[in-house]
């Protein structure tokens, strides 16, 4: 029977995706850009919506939550997955509400106002069955996908507003967004980019090569030289792995130092972050926050017997507190860190914050 076949096919896809995530970033962070991950996730969720068996929005949300939980568990550091799941859930809520006719999409954020006005504790149970819901949801997800496609360009387009001619810009590691951003600017303006190599993975080198090919005057420096060189830098533009609910960052390790250095020389720090990197997570010393890869990266196995006596740590991410950040450039505009929480409440439903 086709049904089961589809089912198994679907579940196989999910498994494959999970496996990929699990192995995702054995070393240099995620092997694929998080944009890609986001797209894949969304696509997978669409598939689920299409193929899984569900009668009401409630069921669908349940299914998606379940899979979502597994996906996030597979690679906790890859927050975009969770974000996409939340986005989809939100979409379902909206679609449900719309098909339900009620326009209570005004503000789902729990608020004093609601506290006072809302009648009764009865929660929406999403049990009603609307035949067109499926189509609508899928449609909405498609829109989401198209939005995802556009993000990098949208950000890049704003480049010229932020980069004036022959200034010295510092960045760290490799962020595809920043890369696009700078290249876009380079079409019009001449400027000098300093790239911190970001050992041990040295993504900085890739970044530098690709920038220099777009002939931007590029200089590679070691992580140790960041502070030394900072005094001549007049803008710091970095990418990030996640934007946290408090406006802080979870970025490649070394960024915090970079940010502190920038602060010390009061150099503006600009973060290029597509919306799908916003995550309702807070930087508590929660253990999933960090991601540690094999010490191999730092101290080679051939180092011999001292290895058994030494502890070697190789965390991949840094936390950058909001007060060190000047500006966020996202695909929908430019915001101060203090405004992030608002975006957060627009993107996700509070009840989906933890899946």
């Amino acid at each position: 029977m086709p049904g089961t076949d589809k089912e198994t096919d679907l579940s196989e896809r999910i498994e494959a995706f999970l496996a990929e995530l699990k192995r995702g970033g054995s070393g240099t962070g995620p092997l694929r850009g998080s944009a890609e991950t986001a797209r894949e996730t969304a696509a997978l969720l669409r598939r689920i919506t299409a193929q899984a068996r569900w009668s009401s929005a409630g069921d669908l949300m349940e299914i998606i939550r379940k899979e979502g939980r597994r996906m996030t568990a597979a690679q906790p550091s890859e927050t975009t997955v969770g974000n996409m799941v939340r986005r989809v859930l939100k979409i379902i809520r909206e679609e449900y509400a719309r098909s339900g006719g009620s326009s209570e999409e005004a503000d789902q954020q729990e608020s004093l106002h609601k506290l006072l006005t809302s009648g009764g504790l009865n929660e929406e149970n999403f049990r009603q069955h609307f035949p067109p819901l499926k189509a609508n949801v899928i449609e909405a997800i498609n829109e989401l996908l198209t939005e995802l496609e556009g993000t990098t360009d949208n950000i890049a387009m704003q480049a010229l507003e932020h980069i004036h001619s022959n200034e010295v810009i510092m960045t760290i590691g490799r962020s595809r967004t920043v890369e696009a951003f700078l290249k876009d600017a380079a079409r019009k303006r001449k400027f000098h980019v300093i790239v911190a190599e970001c050992a041990p993975f040295c993504q900085g080198h890739e970044m530098a090569t690709s920038l220099s090919e777009a002939d931007i005057e590029t200089t590679v420096i070691t992580d140790a030289a960041i502070f030394a060189v900072m005094s001549r830098v007049n803008k710091v533009i970095i990418g990030t792995q996640t934007v946290l609910a408090n406006g802080g960052l979870r970025a490649v390790s070394g960024t915090h130092t970079l940010a502190l250095a920038a602060k010390h020389h009061s150099t503006p720090l600009i973060v290029c972050a597509p919306m799908f990197k916003l995550s309702p997570q807070f930087p508590n010393e929660e253990d999933t926050f960090h991601k540690f890869v094999s010490p191999q990266e730092v101290l080679p196995f051939t180092e011999g017997e001292i290895l058994s006596k030494v502890n070697v740590h190789c965390p991949v991410f840094d936390y950058v507190p909001p007060e060190l950040i000047t500006l966020f450039i996202s695909n929908i505009g430019r915001n101060a860190p203090s405004y992030i929480y608002r975006l957060m409440s627009e993107l996700y439903h509070p009840e989906d914050h933890e899946l």
């Binding site: 699990k22 192995r23 540690f292 191999q296 196995f301 011999g304 017997e305």
Partner: protein
């Protein structure tokens, strides 16, 4: 099962027939990658633990070893795995059936093949050939290999080789670079390999363990390869890529039992068969086989230190419910529902399984604790490997030991290094088990009757032994008043058994002997310097000697004051960190050889003296500076003796030398007497002492002495 099989030949449809061997290029695309996993060690290394649980299922960082192996295979793209089990096959089968590997969605189809007839790797592979299971090149691993190596590159090379010259290369073994003395190098599989640098072809392969000297067959030197390496810095991952011929070859020669046999065999009659074996050396990635408890210790700690990333404890790759744990600073992993008492310190590199509760003021470091364990207050754990449902009462102290499932440790028990408490054992209270104690519920005597029917395999009749255990009483002296279990004392076993047991659990030398690692230190020292320039092959002592020589010569030519010389020499001493003793010996040696340096080796004793004595006079202060304590005197003399033993021609001169040093008060007579009476090392040195002049000199000394010293001499 049927469903799986059905699925299994979906991807491989059309490629089923085995007669399309060779032609690797086609196979690359069409054939799914297969693997043969041997879930039996065919030895008794883990006895008595493996009496109750096959090795493949023993938990390493709270996950059965076989799961690591399977995960490794899956992640390297293996689509079909044949698991061969023998000892306690049903247990393994059971485990696998409810593991994620047998879920319909698993990308790696697992077939379990069990038989009690397997006695060795050889048997298995013969069976593989008989059943003609493999259609193309396949991976061969043991059920206790832990690895995250990405073999794809090795596979490519292998395939390429096979494409270039058909069926010549039968096997590619995967090794990992790791300097000798590395903790996770198993002494037993230390190998020395001669390989062709370019083609990576193995020319010579030999286990070094227990060998004093190595010899290499001549032919490797004048074999075609213009450049080849002899390497000892390799760690055998026990992962090998085999062509289907391997199975055939095993069938052809029934004497092949292990891979080692095979490799040696192939290499020996390479000319005849024209088969070759290749090597793939990887720098990154991790791979090791848990072949004994030392390795268990090493691999576990590597696991916790994340060397096997992404196979880390918190990854929960087996995705079983509730297995997940969190990872926090200094590699501390905690499962769900772990509770720690106040004041308990979890130092570093600790993994605590779910629902385990730990009392107050415990001190835990470098340990792995299983699920549902209960640990009392004031317990100290260091390098302890504690499996599930273990209870440890308060005040216990455990160092580098293994406690199997549902062991109970009563109050105030101390387990010293390398104790093993097998399943369900109870020890204590208030007892201290000496180093290397092994306690099991099975009585060692069970062995005898088993030994007849079984050779190297783990499979043994346990049932009847159960009955026996009932009869035998536990000795309170050994395991404590409330203890339950029998000590597997080495003495309780016949000789052969004894060292086997000693081997079986904790590898061979428990702690590598000092000089070996000291020298490795030295080599390391030079190595790292090499990293910032070039690595010198010169051994420091030699260099130091030449340096000293140089110094003295210059001293001669520019008659530098002795103090300066001393300064020089000291600095050199630091530079090559030479011990004072060595300094003295070398100094003596150098000085004694000095005349040769000046006038070349052909000198008569007389000339020699005439040259040497002024020197001695000149440098007396230098000597005095080093020769202070009585010991120094002896060392100095020893050095002299050594020199003269080498140059018999100058024995005549020796006396004069001694005389002069004595007169220069570099050496005092007791020392000389002492040396004379005791220092005898070889018969040659005895001969030396027979030397006329020397005897006279000694006599003279004796006369020169007064009573007191005479007594001394008698005493001496």
């Amino acid at each position: 099962m049927a469903g799986r099989v059905g699925k299994q030949n979906r991807p491989t449809s059309g490629a089923g027939n085995a007669n399309r061997k060779g032609a690797a290029d086609q196979e690359e695309e069409e054939q799914p990658l297969q693997a043969v996993l041997i879930a039996d060690s065919f030895n008794r290394r883990f006895f008595p633990i493996s009496k109750d649980q096959p090795r493949a299922l023993l938990p390493l960082a709270n996950v059965a070893m076989i799961d690591y192996t399977l995960e490794f295979l899956t992640s390297t793209g293996v689509q079909e795995t044949f698991v061969f089990c023998c000892w306690m096959s049903n247990k393994i089968k059971e485990h696998l059936l409810k593991s994620k590997w047998c879920r319909p969605t698993s990308p790696n189809t697992v077939h379990i093949i069990t038989s009690d007839l397997y006695r060795s790797l050889g048997d298995v592979l013969r069976d593989v050939d008989a059943k003609s299971l493999v259609r193309s090149d396949f991976l061969l691993v043991y059920g206790d290999v832990v690895s995250n190596i990405d073999v794809t590159q090795a596979l490519q090379e292998h395939w390429h080789r096979r494409k270039v010259e058909k069926n010549v290369s039968v096997m590619t073994m995967i090794f990992k670079e790791s300097s000798p003395g590395h903790k996770s190098r198993c002494e037993e599989d230390n190998v020395i390999v001669a390989m062709d640098s370019k083609s990576k072809r193995v020319l010579h392969y030999q286990k070094t363990h227990g060998l004093k000297r190595l010899q290499f067959p001549m032919n490797i030197f004048h074999s075609g390869s213009d450049e080849f390496e002899i390497r000892h810095d390799l760690l055998d991952c026990h992962i090998s890529i085999c062509s289907p011929q391997v199975a055939e070859l095993f069938t052809d020669n029934f004497d092949y039992q292990t891979r080692n046999d095979f490799v040696r065999g192939i290499l020996v009659n390479e000319e005849i068969l024209g088969n070759q074996i290749h090597l793939h050396v990887t720098a990154d990635g991790y791979g090791a086989r848990v072949s004994n408890l030392l390795m268990y210790d090493a691999v576990s700690s590597d696991m916790v230190r994340r060397w096997v990333y992404p196979l880390t404890p918190e990854a929960n790759f087996t995705d079983q419910e509730g297995q997940g744990c969190t990872h926090s600073r200094r590699n501390v992993y905690r499962g769900a529902g772990v509770s720690l008492g106040h004041g308990s310190q979890v130092e570093e590199n600790v993994l605590i399984g779910r629902e385990t509760s730990i009392g107050a003021n415990c001190h835990i470091s470098n340990s792995i604790i299983g699920n549902n364990c209960t640990i009392g207050d004031n317990v100290v754990l260091d390098r302890a490997y504690i499996w599930n449902n273990v209870r440890i009462a308060k005040g216990s102290k455990i160092t580098q030991s293994v406690l199997c499932d549902s062991v109970e440790v009563k109050e105030g028990v101390t387990l010293n290094c390398q104790c093993v408490l097998a399943y369900n054992v109870v020890v204590g209270p208030n007892i201290s088990l000496p180093e290397g104690t092994v306690v099991s519920m099975h009585h060692p005597d069970e062995e005898e009757e088993e030994d007849e029917d079984e050779f190297l395999s783990d499979d043994a009749e346990v049932s009847n032994s159960q009955a026996k255990t009932k009869l035998k009483a536990f000795s309170a002296a050994e395991v404590g008043t409330e203890g339950r279990g029998f000590i597997w004392r080495a003495s309780s076993l016949p000789e052969a058994e004894e060292d086997e047991l000693a081997q079986s659990l904790w590898g061979l030398e428990l702690n590598p002997d000092p000089e070996s690692d000291s020298e490795s230190e030295m080599s390391e020292g030079s190595h790292d310097l090499g990293s910032r320039g070039v690595s010198p092959e010169l051994d420091d002592v030699k260099v130091f000697q030449t340096e000293v020589l140089g110094t003295l010569q210059r001293g001669m030519e520019e008659n530098i004051s002795c103090d300066n010389l001393v300064l020089e020499i000291n600095s050199l001493k630091y530079a090559y960190n030479i011990s004072l003793k060595e300094v003295m010996q070398i100094l003596t040696k150098v000085v004694l050889e000095f005349p040769f340096q000046q006038q070349g080796p052909q000198l008569t004793a007389a000339q020699y003296c005439s040259l040497l004595l002024p020197l001695l006079k000149k440098w007396a202060p230098v000597f005095k500076n080093y020769v202070k304590r009585a010991q120094d005197h002896l060392d100095c003399l020893a050095a002299m003796e050594e020199f003269f033993l080498e140059h018999e021609a100058y024995w005549g001169a020796m006396v004069k030398v001694l005389m002069s040093v004595y007169q220069l008060e570099i050496l005092d007579e007791e020392a000389i007497m002492r040396w004379f009476s005791h220092g005898v090392t070889s018969d040659k040195s005895r001969l030396l002492r027979k030397n006329q002049g020397l005897l006279k000199f000694i006599q003279w000394l004796e006369e020169a002495e007064d009573e007191s010293s005479e007594e001394e001499v008698d005493a001496a």
